[in-house]
Every structure is written in structure tokens, then in C-alpha cells.
């Protein structure tokens, strides 16, 4: 049934008994054309576009837990495309363009809310780096503009622009098309969309091994629900990528760290946009329900624990209270962690691997939610054609050998 106001009313009047399942709970088949490992936003989007745009319908998405339960379900949902390098600009802008019509595309309101993302500059060095981004983005046709402290405050009235604070705000970059979306809705929207196109989404099915034939080509996966065959496997497992690739004897340039986020108790609207500060490390927005959604840092050690240290939370809330002094009496409602897979240059890896039939899409680290539609779109093309989509082409594994890094870290320090 189509999601619409009309159907909402009709169903409301008849006790909401007619809504169909958003996705099935199928039993795994013996084999598929393509297996996607990981039902996060990226994996589900990949399956969706494979089915929709490449006519491959015999697809399974295998998920060890519940779909959307990875980083997709635990991120602070910041969306923007004002990255520095041309390769990144193309990738993230591709995603933003898809975000703009995604609710219609999926017939699922993903609540994409381009309310503006403001990135603060606190030092002269910040100003230089920020302006470099702005100029680069403008050349690429990506909106990003410089705001004076007063303009920044006009855009976000609760910002503390006093000159007397420890790291006064010298200005900000604003991407007006940047914003947020509802994380769960993105996963669910893609899941529903893929399911309707015939994709089997199989939850509670953990991949335990990747099988190969004598020539080294993949033949399928061992799972907690038995062997499932496929000639093509796309691993889209975020923090668990190293574990999965290890099953095919591939070591990855990845480290997995816990990244934390937290929400406040819901309060009446006070925060109209997204604000990020790389220098004092804090970022915040307010959800449509009223909680302040706050991103914290990663722990310094590799961990799969999905929790993090108290001092990391503390450090973030220090910074939040500096930037927004009136939040100091508000209260933290819930604090959680996700496991992010970080590459040496803080850019993702999308493409083929040394093992034939095995594809990987990972390394999104602390900032891949924003790329979800674009990532799925280019990865689907890559899997379908066996060749990298042009936008994905620079994001190969080989770049770590040649040295052709796409170093967003060197340029910006943080990449949410």
C-alpha cells in the first residue's frame, strides 16, 4: 500500500488494520546472484539500486542483527557535501542530490531536512581551512558560504559569540543545503523499497565465512543459517569490515573505534540548524521530537564494544556548554556508541577487491550517513558492471599503495 495522507486517513478510520508489512521475513534461498552483507543504510541502498537500476532482482541482504541497527541507527544524521577534494565533493554531492528527492523516490518520508549545517572557525588557521573549503566548493558548484560571527548568531541565535570565551568564534561556513534526515526512516525506506523489488532481507543471519572456489573466486557465504551461494558478494559492514574481509584473507587499512553520541531530554525548539566545531570538537542539532542530538568523539583504542569512555562524553559536553551556555542545565537522556571503520585518509573505500566477485564498501568512519544514497547508488553500479562507477573510481584500495590518498583528515581533522 502506498504511503499517503489519504491512506493514512483511511487506515486511521479502520483501526490501522490494513497496513501491509514494510518488508518480508523470508527464509534464505540456496543461492542468489548477489549477496550484500550488512543491512545498514549503505547495504540496503545498494540492494535497492541494484534491483531498481540494474535489473538484478535475485539479491539477498544478510544482516547479523536487525536491519538498520548498525551505525545507520546510531548516528547524528548530519548531511552535507562541502568536502575539500574534488573526489569527495563529487561523491557527497551525488548523495545530497539523491537526498533531495529520496522521500518521493522511496515513497517513505525520510524527513530530509536541509536546515543548514554551520561549521565554526575558532582560530585563524580554522578560518584559512574553512575558506579553502568554501572556495573549492564554490568552484565545484556546491553551496558553502562564509558567515561572520554576527551572521552565524543570526542563523543560530543560541550560539555564544562572545569574544571573551576560551576559543571565540571567528566565523563559520554555512552549507544551507546541508541538514539532517531521520536515520531509521532511511534504513526502513530502503528496506521497504528493496523488498518490494524482490530483494530478500534476511535478518539475524550472521556471515561467518566467505567461500571461494579453486580459482579464488567467491562462491557464497557461510552464515549462522547455513551456506548461501552467490557469485558476487558486496561487503557493506562498516565497523565489522575487517572481520569480514579477514574471512577472504584480505587485510584492510581500517581501524574500528567506538564513536559516541547522546541526546538530551526533549525541549521546545531552540536550535534551528546543525552546528559543528572541529576545533573544540562538538556538534549538535535538534531533532523534530525536541532532543538535542550531540556527537561526541571516538575512543582512542580499537573496540567493538559499542560503548565509550565517560571522559569522551565529558569533553563533548564541555564544548557544548561553551558554545551554547544555556544548555548547561539541560540533561543528557541517553548516550550510546557505534563502531566506525576509519581509514588512514578518512575517505571511504568503494570497489573491487583482490578476490574475484568480492566487492567492498567501507571506511565511512564517522561520516558516512550523509553518503547513504550516493554510496549505494555507485556501489550498485560497481557490482553490477564489475567496474567502478566513475564517482567511486578514485576510492580504491590501491590508493594506499600508490599514495594517491584523498586526505580529508589532513585538510579538516574531522569528517562528520
Amino acid at each position: 500500500m502506498k504511503f499517503s495522507l489519504l491512506n493514512l486517513i483511511r487506515e486511521g478510520l479502520s483501526g490501522n488494520m490494513g497496513w501491509p508489512r514494510q518488508w518480508r521475513t523470508p527464509e534464505p534461498k540456496a543461492a542468489y546472484d548477489v549477496i550484500i552483507v550488512g543491512a545498514g543504510g549503505h547495504g540496503l541502498a545498494t540492494a535497492y539500486y541494484l534491483a531498481k537500476e540494474h535489473g538484478i532482482r535475485n539479491i539477498a541482504v544478510l544482516e547479523k542483527g536487525w536491519l538498520g541497527g548498525g551505525n545507520t541507527g546510531r548516528n547524528t544524521t548530519i548531511i552535507r557535501s562541502n568536502y575539500l577534494w574534488e573526489e569527495s565533493e563529487a561523491l557527497y554531492e551525488h548523495a545530497v542530490k539523491l537526498w533531495e528527492t529520496l522521500s518521493d523516490e522511496l515513497n517513505y518520508n525520510v524527513m530530509y531536512s536541509p536546515r543548514g549545517v554551520m561549521m565554526l572557525a575558532h582560530t585563524i588557521h580554522d578560518v584559512q581551512v574553512t575558506k579553502r573549503h568554501i572556495h573549492a566548493n564554490r568552484l565545484a558548484g556546491i553551496d558553502n558560504e562564509w558567515l561572520s560571527p554576527e551572521e552565524a548568531k543570526a542563523f543560530c541565535p543560541i550560539l555564544n559569540i562572545s569574544r571573551d570565551i576560551r576559543y571565540p568564534i571567528l566565523g563559520a561556513a554555512l552549507q544551507r543545503r546541508g541538514g539532517t534526515a531521520r536515520h531509521d526512516a532511511v534504513a526502513w525506506g530502503y528496506a521497504r523499497g528493496a523488498d518490494r523489488l524482490g530483494v530478500d532481507i534476511i535478518q539475524n543471519c550472521e556471515v561467518k565465512g566467505i567461500n571461494r572456489d579453486a580459482t579464488g573466486k567467491v562462491t557464497g557465504v557461510e552464515t549462522t543459517r547455513g551456506f548461501i551461494g552467490a557469485g558476487k558478494i558486496g561487503v557493506v559492514a562498516a565497523g565489522h569490515t575487517s572481520v569480514l574481509m579477514g574471512m577472504a584473507d584480505i587485510r584492510m587499512p581500517l581501524e574500528s573505534y567506538p564513536l559516541q553520541a547522546l541526546v538530551s531530554e526533549p525541549v521546545k525548539p531552540l536550535m534551528p540548524c546543525v552546528v559543528m566545531s572541529n576545533t573544540i570538537h562538538a556538534y549538535m542539532s535538534q531533532s523534530d521530537k525536541g532532543e538535542l542530538v550531540i556527537g561526541a568523539g571516538t575512543d582512542q583504542y580499537i573496540s567493538y564494544s559499542q560503548t565509550g569512555g565517560l571522559h569522551i562524553t565529558q569533553h563533548t559536553l564541555d564544548a557544548i556548554c561553551e558554545l551554547f551556555p544555556m544548555t548547561r542545565r539541560l540533561r543528557m537522556l541517553r548516550n550510546w556508541g557505534g563502531i566506525v571503520d576509519v581509514t588512514p585518509d578518512r575517505s571511504p573505500i568503494i570497489g573491487k577487491t583482490p578476490v574475484e566477485g568480492l566487492f567492498v564498501n567501507c571506511g565511512w568512519g564517522t561520516g558516512g550517513f550523509k553518503a547513504t544514497p550516493g554510496s549505494g547508488h555507485v556501489f550498485a553500479a560497481t557490482i553490477a558492471k564489475g567496474e567502478p562507477h566513475p564517482i567511486a573510481a578514485p576510492f580504491t584500495l590501491e590508493r594506499f599503495t600508490t599514495g594517491r590518498l584523498i586526505d580529508e583528515a589532513a585538510a579538516a581533522a574531522v569528517a562528520h
Binding site: M111, K268, T307
Partner: protein, 964 residues
């Protein structure tokens, strides 16, 4: 005293009346009351409105688990939203406001939402608000729907001004941390501390220790508290919730220090964060009662039976005059008797169980209370307060028949008890489903967490806590037609949860997120078990198969300020100041932040802006002499017979051939081959070097060296010591530099032959020992005076006085940047960004060509680092000399590049050069060195700026001025 007060008993101080207001209405309570108990005593149950439907709500609990009675408390410039009335201790003058209502709590326009609730079921917003497409995809959502939804969001209002309170922090260690001070916790604390040795911390979130014991007046509690208080090895923390349980027995506690006081003491922190590392943790957090999910179970006046009992016995207040009891658990019989004893009329006990304990039933009957077994409440009526219930009898086929009405002004319900396993779960312990308790109990402790649970939180229930029910209670007719609330605050009903499962949300995590059950400010303390029960029934799976959502910190919401603690203002991050800082302040300098350091940016004289001041400062250096505070530069003293060998291995340059008394500019790479730091290194003795690093790189470089020394080359006999803060560094630059220093220096011949460029001498200046470098970051004759930091200011002042005599003066970092750019000297972090090789920035010459290895050498040989077309450092001159391009601006071949054109490079540094009488810029450009002479463009919104590519040296290319 109010009619609802019991004549005696309880723990309130009846001799101390306290006045307070709720929404401006003046009322009275007693010392020992909570806001909730005092309001109830005043006949007020309507304390809040629910989140979505704005339904009128009263408290269902008497403690931390409260979902409904949330208020804002204001006092002397402070305002705190979303506090639970059940936890707010009453004080004289307390002022509370209700929330999430407009215009008033008992007349709230938002309640209209209740009328259209059929259309606002779980996940409704995902299904609509998408069109009309004709207006453009997402247009209506962003312009109409979302703003409306957002405007309605939230509970309380955030305060407007900054927080006037301070927060304290305390790290603590103890042998045993006991969390929860009820029967179980007190007993555990007594045992743990008995030997007089083990250090014990006992905490409880409530104002008094005792937990459930506070509902009876046994003598044991008083005696035990006295015993514990008398033991020096016990620290007792009241009003202290344990909110987070982290790895390796690290537990965070929040202690509330002043919120309960009528007069706020000056300066005392409002709250204290305890970060406790415990040898052993004993969890004694008790149990929470679960509500029953029956139709219209959310009217004010409907509360948990244990809470009703607590109000009557502990707070001496009757929640009403006539109660109906609805239960699945024996403890409600006790509650009924206690209420009866407190003077409440009991309409009936409605027991969902077919066969309640006969002894209890007999006891009730004896007390004159009717017991209806196998009976459920099928509905309630009443506006702002419950007035009637209807009851029906369970039939063998699980249907319900009959609709007897009973009048009552409150309902006490009990679905049984749920062990408080929140902290156990946070500690990553594994739970086990207990059939008999119908609840989860602690099972396997996580590694590294020495810990045990005792009392009710371990599932050690006393006999009267027997019996429990999960899910929605049976109703006559269509369950989809009734509103049986599960999550009160978020307005999640049983039918919402069933809808979620019908839509394919089979994971309990999906149900949670789709319906938002358990996501409110109470985090599902009272709702989770019923939600699970409903899912279990809807899916036909057992409860343990359904599983649980994750318990996360905090146990109850914790103030941001508590986390931030002292880190406010200047304490947010250390402010590092050089020994010369205060002099610069006195001169009216403007400062910039560089890492944690404050650096003098420029020294404006009357009427000067940054440009005028910088121009003047540059003229001083080029014309006469300028002095500059370079103390923040990182400095390392490297000593040992292998010192030169070590440098040889880490820096790209040759070091073994550096003579004693000489300096060299060093470049440091990472193993990948990219420039990460630079600085001048002086050889003081065959085995002693003085290394300088960038200001920002100081700690990083030191750590990197230590890493190689300790782990790669432990055989090298060389040690490093940070001397960054040992020395104040004063750069003296300009043709008159020698003249400035000459009168002050002893034992150093400043003449060029004796003391050439890139040399170091030791001697005295102003009578103080100095390491005097002859180096130049300005291109002029230059020295850098290193003196012990304590002498920095005095020596600076002496040098400054000499400089003034020579017509010179101080300059700041801005002028320093301009001067070095005129010479094409790079700044690591400005010309480089972690992607540049030495060759890229024109420093290929520095690499020791014969060296077989150094850090980064192999990295430099990787294909992309040797590829043609890399970006290279060049100079730029704008065709219009007055135009100063922006740093970071992009450079293209064409003036009007098509959108999406790749840039050739970007401007890294750009200034007005007073010396050159024109603007100058440094840039990195693909193949830049081969482009010298080409005209390129910097496209800007107001039109492109044309630039000529030039060599990156704008002034004195032959370097003649170094000789002064």
C-alpha cells in the same frame, strides 16, 4: 493540614509547613514532602500533559521512574525543565510550572491531537507529509509540515540565560561501592565495612537511605544508619544516583547538593560528579513496579500501587478518598491494607489472577475489602481525574464479559515487580529470563567487572512481591479500539505496538524505534516489560525470544553542567602564555589562539587596525629592527653519543657533518613521506643538539621521537628532554639587529665572521645565560635569543629598550607571517596540509641525497609521490597589485571556468606586502614551477582575479640582507 493528610505517621515534619506554588497557585506542604506528594495533599493530580496527545496526566509513581509528572522549577535566575515532581524535594518558596500545554495545564489546545489520534499512530510521519510533488520534491515537507511538527515538539523549555551554578568533580576509589540504600544495600554495606578496613561508598538517589524500608517505621533502619555513620571507612552519599557503569568497575555518580535547599549557599556547587573506581560493586537497586496496560489507564489518579502505599505511609498523604486496586501481584494487597489503614476507602481489589493467594484474599475480606478475582478493568472515566472504572470478568476463552462500574477517585495498580537491572546491564552483564518472576534477572557478569547484585534487583523478591503480568490486559471487544497506554510519556499504546509488528517490525529494537516506546525521559522504566509482553503475544514468541533493548547510561537524565564540571571559561582548556605575554598585554597587543597558546598577533598603536599595525611592524623589521616573541616554538634538547645518528634517521637532512656551533633547517616527514614539521636544529656539542619544532607540533614531535627511540632503535644512546618552557625566545630581526644586541651581550662576538648566519653561540645577555642563534625567518639579519623563561620578560624589556633606541619595536605573528612569505618560507600547516612532500614545497634540496634511509624516504618513492603534475609551491602576483586574494582561494586556468572545473591549486598564503608595495601570495599549483610566467585566475564571486605565477621569493632573492 489538608484533608488528604493522614493524621499521623510518615516521614514528613508536620511541624514545618512549607509554601510553594504550582503554575502560580500558592499551596502548602511539609518538610519531607516531594512536590508530587505535596500536590497530591492539595488534591492536585493533574501535573502534566503527555508528549503527543497532550493527555492530562498525574504521577504514576513516587520516584525515579516517573514518566508523567514532569515540571519546570524556577528559582533566582535559574530554570530547570523536565524535573520529576516525584523526586523534587519541597522547600520553602519552591516555584514549579507545568509543561507542554498551552495556554494552561487544565485547558490545553494541544489536546486536539487526542481527537485525531487514529491518524497519529506509530510511525505516521513516515507515511505522509511527502507531497504534493507538483511543488517540488521535499518542498512541502521543509516549508510546511516539518516547521509545524517541530513547533509542537519538546517537553519543557530550555532556560535562556547562562547557568549560574557551578558543578564539582571528584575522582574516588573504594574497595566496595554499594549502589542503593534499601534493605539489601544497607545490609551489604554493613557487611562490607565490618572489618573497619575496607573502604565503602554507599549511595542512594533518594533524600534518605532506606529504600522500601522508608515505608515502615522499623527501628533497624535508624540503627543501621547510625552504625554505618559511625564507621570511618564508610562514605554515605545521599541524593546520589549511580548513572553510568563503565568498563573495569568505573561508576559515575551524580550527587545533588543544593537543589533541595530553600536558600542557595553562595559558591557551593549544585551537583557533584563522582567518578568511582571500585574494587567490587554491589548493586542493590531494588525493583520497579510495572503498570497494567488497560483501557484509558492514564487518567490522573491512576498510579502504581506501591507508589500509592508510599504516599500514604512515607509521605502521610492519601492519594484520594476512594481507591480501586487493580493487580496481578500480591503486594497490592499490602498496599490496599496500608491505604485502608491510612483512612482510604477501598472500592475493591480487582485481581486479574484467577486464583489469588487465599490467605491474602481472606485478609482483605476481613478488612472489609471486596476482592474480584479473574477480573480486569475494562475502562475508566473522568476528566482531569479518574472518577469511575468499569470491570469485567475473564472468561475461559480469554474474553471479557460484564461492565460493572465502580466509583473511585484513584486507582492503584500493580503488574508486579521488575528488578532494576539497568546498571548491571550497563556493565555489560548478561541477563537471564526468570519464569517464576516473569522478569529478567542478572546472570553472567562481564569480564573485569567484579560485582554482584543483591536484594530485589537480583530477583530476590520477598513473598509479597509474587505475581506479575506482562502486556496489555484483556478487553471486551476490539483491542484496536481502546487506548491502553504502555509508554505514558510518549503516548505509546498497546495498539501502536501491535501495529508495528503487523508492519513487519519484528525485532524489539524496531518496535522501540517505530513506536518510540521506551525512548522517553524515563527510558521505559515502567513501560518496557509491557511492551515486550505485547510484542511477544503479537508475534507468538516467548518473551526471552523477543529479547530486550539495550540499557544505556544514564540511569536517569544527568545535567550537562555536571559533565562539563569545572571546564568553563578559561578552565575549558588551559590558556598557555609566554613569559612575555603580560608585557604584550600592557602594550595593548591583540592576541591569537595557536593551539593552547596565546600569541601576540599585532601591536596596534593609536588608531591602527590590523593592517596598519602590521604594515608598520614590517617596515620596522625591513628598515631598522623588530623584536618578536617566539617562545611558543617547541624545543627539545637531544643529548647522547648517538644524537647525530638519531637526527640522521629522523630528519630528511644530513646531520653528521653539521659542525658544533652551527645550525641547520630540518624537515621532518612521516613514514608516508609527507611533511609534518620543520625547525632549526643547532649543534651545541658533538653529543648535544638544540632542536626547535613548530608551536603546534611540539608535543607530537616529542612523542614521535620517543616512539622511535624506545621501540625502533632502543640501542641508540641518546635521550631527549623538552625544553620548550625552559626558554623564552626573542627574535631580533632587521638591519639593526646587531646594534640592538651588542650593548647587552657578553662573551659573544656578534661580528659576521665570528658568528655567521646559521650559527649558535652560548654566552650572556643582560647578565643572563643565553643560547644565541643567528637565524632569520624574516630574511633580514637576525638573531634568536634564548634565555631561561624566568628572565624572559626582563631580557625582552632590555632588548626592547635597545630596539626603540634604534627606531625599532615589537612585531606580532601577523607581521612575522608577511615577512616570511616575502621570502617564500613555508609554514607547516599552511603551505602544507599533510599531503605535501619536500619537493612539492620546494625543499627537495634539503634531503640528504646519499642517505639510505630516513623517516619518510621510502614513502616518498611511492608512485603517486613521484608522479608528474604534483602541486608545487609558487608565488603569485595579482595583475592588479592592490588586490589581495583570499587564502584558500582556488586557482584555474580560465577566468570563467565551467562549473565543476577542477582547480589547479589554491592560495596558501596571501598578504599585502608593505615591503614590495603590492600584494603577494604563495600557492600550490599543479606543475607550478613549470608555469612561472603564466597568467592564471582566481575565480571569485565578484569576478576572477588574474595572477601571474612567479618564483616564491618576493624580496631579496639573493639573500644579501641576511648579512645586515
Amino acid at each position: 493540614m489538608s484533608m488528604l493528610r493522614t493524621p499521623s505517621g510518615g516521614r514528613i515534619d508536620r511541624t514545618r509547613a512549607l509554601r510553594f506554588t504550582f503554575d502560580g497557585r500558592l499551596m502548602q506542604g511539609h518538610q519531607g514532602d516531594t512536590l508530587a506528594s505535596a500536590l497530591i495533599a492539595n488534591g492536585v493530580h493533574l501535573m502534566g500533559r503527555s508528549f503527543k496527545y497532550h493527555r492530562p496526566r498525574g504521577p504514576i509513581s513516587a520516584g525515579a521512574e516517573e514518566p508523567n509528572a514532569l515540571v519546570t522549577v524556577t528559582r533566582s535566575g535559574r530554570s530547570t525543565p523536565n524535573l520529576r515532581a516525584t523526586q523534587i524535594e519541597l522547600y520553602e518558596g519552591l516555584a514549579a510550572l507545568s509543561q507542554n500545554r498551552w495556554p494552561a495545564l487544565d485547558f490545553d489546545i494541544g489536546a486536539i491531537n487526542g481527537l485525531i489520534s487514529p491518524f497519529l499512530g506509530a510511525g505516521f510521519y513516515y507515511k505522509t507529509f511527502m507531497g504534493p510533488k507538483a511543488l517540488g520534491s521535499n518542498w512541502a515537507w521543509t516549508k510546511i509540515y516539518e516547521p509545524v511538527i517541530r513547533a509542537a515538539a519538546g517537553l519543557g523549555r530550555a532556560p535562556e540565560g547562562p547557568d549560574l551554578d557551578r558543578y564539582a568533580n571528584r575522582f574516588a576509589h573504594c574497595d566496595v561501592l554499594v549502589i542503593g540504600g534499601g534493605d539489601a544495600g544497607l545490609t551489604a554495606a554493613l557487611e562490607a565495612s565490618a572489618d573497619g578496613k575496607a573502604s565503602v561508598i554507599l549511595c542512594d538517589e533518594q533524600a534518605e537511605f532506606g529504600g522500601w524500608l522508608l515505608n515502615s517505621d522499623g527501628a533497624w533502619l535508624g540503627e543501621t544508619l547510625a552504625t554505618l555513620a559511625s564507621r570511618p571507612n564508610v562514605r554515605m552519599l545521599r541524593r546520589t544516583q549511580a548513572f553510568g557503569y563503565f568498563a573495569q568497575n568505573f561508576v559515575a555518580l551524580q550527587e545533588r547538593l543544593t537543589d533541595h535547599l530553600a536558600d542557595l549557599p553562595e559558591g557551593t556547587p549544585r551537583e557533584r560528579l563522582w567518578q568511582v573506581r571500585a574494587g567490587e560493586v554491589i548493586l542493590a537497586t531494588g525493583a520497579i513496579e510495572r503498570p497494567l496496560a488497560f483501557p484509558d489507564n492514564d487518567r490522573p489518579g491512576i498510579m502504581l500501587a506501591g507508589a500509592a502505599e508510599t504516599y500514604a505511609t512515607r509521605y502521610g498523604v492519601r492519594p484520594g478518598t476512594r481507591a480501586a486496586i487493580f493487580t496481578a501481584c500480591d503486594s497490592a494487597y499490602g498496599a490496599a491494607l496500608a491505604l485502608k489503614a491510612a483512612g482510604v476507602e477501598i472500592a475493591a481489589i480487582v485481581d486479574i489472577r484467577l486464583k489469588p493467594d487465599p490467605a491474602l484474599a481472606a485478609q482483605a475480606l476481613e478488612a472489609g475489602i471486596a476482592v474480584h478475582s479473574g477480573t480486569v478493568i475494562t475502562g475508566t472515566t473522568g476528566g482531569k481525574r479518574v472518577s469511575h472504572i468499569t470491570i469485567g470478568k475473564l472468561q475461559p476463552d480469554a474474553s471479557v464479559r460484564g461492565a460493572d462500574q465502580l466509583a473511585c477517585d484513584f486507582v492503584a495498580m500493580s503488574g508486579g515487580w521488575v528488578p532494576s537491572v539497568h546498571l548491571f546491564s550497563q556493565s555489560r552483564g548478561k541477563l537471564r529470563w526468570d519464569e517464576t518472576l516473569n522478569a529478567y534477572v542478572p546472570n553472567i557478569t562481564a569480564p573485569g567487572q567484579k560485582q554482584r547484585s543483591v536484594g530485589a534487583c537480583a530477583g530476590a523478591f520477598s513473598a509479597e512481591m509474587r505475581g506479575a503480568f506482562n502486556g496489555a490486559t484483556p478487553v471486551p471487544g476490539d483491542p484496536a479500539k481502546v487506548k491502553a497506554f504502555v509508554d505514558f510519556q510518549n503516548d505509546v499504546t498497546a495498539r501502536d505496538i501491535r501495529l508495528a509488528t503487523r508492519e513487519g517490525m519484528h525485532s524489539v529494537e524496531h518496535v522501540k524505534r517505530f513506536t518510540t516506546t521506551g525512548m522517553a525521559t524515563d527510558q521505559g522504566k515502567t513501560s518496557n516489560m509491557n511492551a515486550l509482553g505485547i510484542v511477544s503475544e503479537a508475534l507468538g514468541k516467548s518473551l526471552p525470544e523477543v529479547g530486550l533493548t539495550t540499557f544505556r547510561q544514564p540511569y536517569t537524565p544527568v545535567t550537562f553542567g555536571l559533565f562539563a564540571g569545572q571546564a568553563r571559561g578559561d578552565l575549558f582548556d588551559p590558556v598557555r602564555k609566554t613569559p612575555i605575554h603580560n608585557w604584550a598585554v600592557a602594550q595593548g597587543a591583540a592576541f591569537e589562539d595557536v593551539g593552547q597558546w596565546k600569541r601576540a598577533h599585532y601591536f596596534p598603536q593609536k588608531g591602527e587596525d590590523i593592517h596598519a599595525a602590521t604594515n608598520r611592524e614590517c617596515r620596522l623589521v625591513r628598515g631598522t629592527v623588530g623584536i618578536f616573541d617566539a617562545s611558543t616554538l617547541g624545543k627539545i634538547e637531544l643529548v647522547g653519543p648517538d644524537a647525530a645518528e638519531f637526527l640522521e634517521r629522523v630528519y630528511v637532512n644530513n646531520w653528521k657533518n653539521l659542525g658544533v656551533g652551527r645550525c641547520r633547517y630540518g624537515i621532518l616527514l612521516n613514514e608516508a613521506g609527507f611533511v609534518i614539521d620543520d625547525g632549526v636544529i643547532a649543534r651545541l656539542a658533538p653529543d648535544r643538539f638544540h632542536i626547535t619544532t613548530t608551536t603546534g607540533g611540539a608535543a607530537r614531535v616529542f612523542a614521535m621521537f620517543e616512539d622511535y627511540l624506545q621501540t625502533e632503535w632502543p640501542d641508540l644512546k641518546v635521550w631527549q628532554t623538552s625544553i620548550t618552557e625552559q626558554y623564552a625566545v626573542i627574535a631580533v630581526q632587521g638591519p639593526k639587529a646587531r646594534a640592538v644586541l651588542a650593548p647587552l651581550v657578553e662573551g659573544i662576538n656578534l661580528a659576521s665572521e665570528a658568528f655567521p648566519h646559521m650559527a649558535i653561540r652560548e654566552g650572556r645577555i643582560c647578565g643572563v645565560e643565553t643560547r644565541l642563534f643567528r637565524v632569520s625567518f624574516s630574511g633580514e639579519l637576525g638573531f634568536e635569543v634564548n634565555v631561561p623563561a624566568s628572565q624572559g620578560r626582563a631580557v625582552w624589556e632590555a632588548i626592547h629598550a635597545e630596539a626603540i633606541k634604534q627606531g625599532g619595536g615589537a612585531y606580532g605573528t601577523e607581521a612575522m607571517h608577511v615577512l616570511r612569505a616575502e621570502k617564500g618560507f613555508i609554514i607547516v600547516g599552511q603551505e602544507t596540509d599533510g599531503t605535501m612532500t619536500p619537493d612539492d614545497v620546494g625543499l627537495g634540496w634539503a634531503i640528504g641525497k646519499a642517505k639510505t634511509d630516513f623517516i619518510g624516504k621510502r614513502g616518498l618513492m611511492r608512485p603517486d609521490l613521484m608522479a608528474a603534475g604534483r602541486k608545487q609551491l609558487v608565488g603569485l602576483q595579482t595583475l592588479d597589485p592592490k588586490v589581495v586574494p583570499e587564502e584558500g582561494a582556488q586557482i584555474t586556468a580560465e577566468a570563467n571556468p565551467a562549473p565543476g572545473t577542477a582547480a589547479l591549486g589554491h592560495v596558501t598564503s596571501s598578504y599585502w606586502s608593505e615591503t614590495c608595495g603590492r600584494s603577494i601570495a604563495l600557492a600550490v599549483i599543479a606543475n607550478g614551477r613549470a608555469r612561472v610566467g603564466e597568467v592564471l585566475h582566481i575565480p571569485m564571486p565578484g569576478g576572477a582575479i588574474a595572477v601571474t605565477v612567479v618564483a616564491p621569493v618576493f624580496y631579496d632573492p639573493k639573500g644579501e640582507r641576511l648579512n645586515g
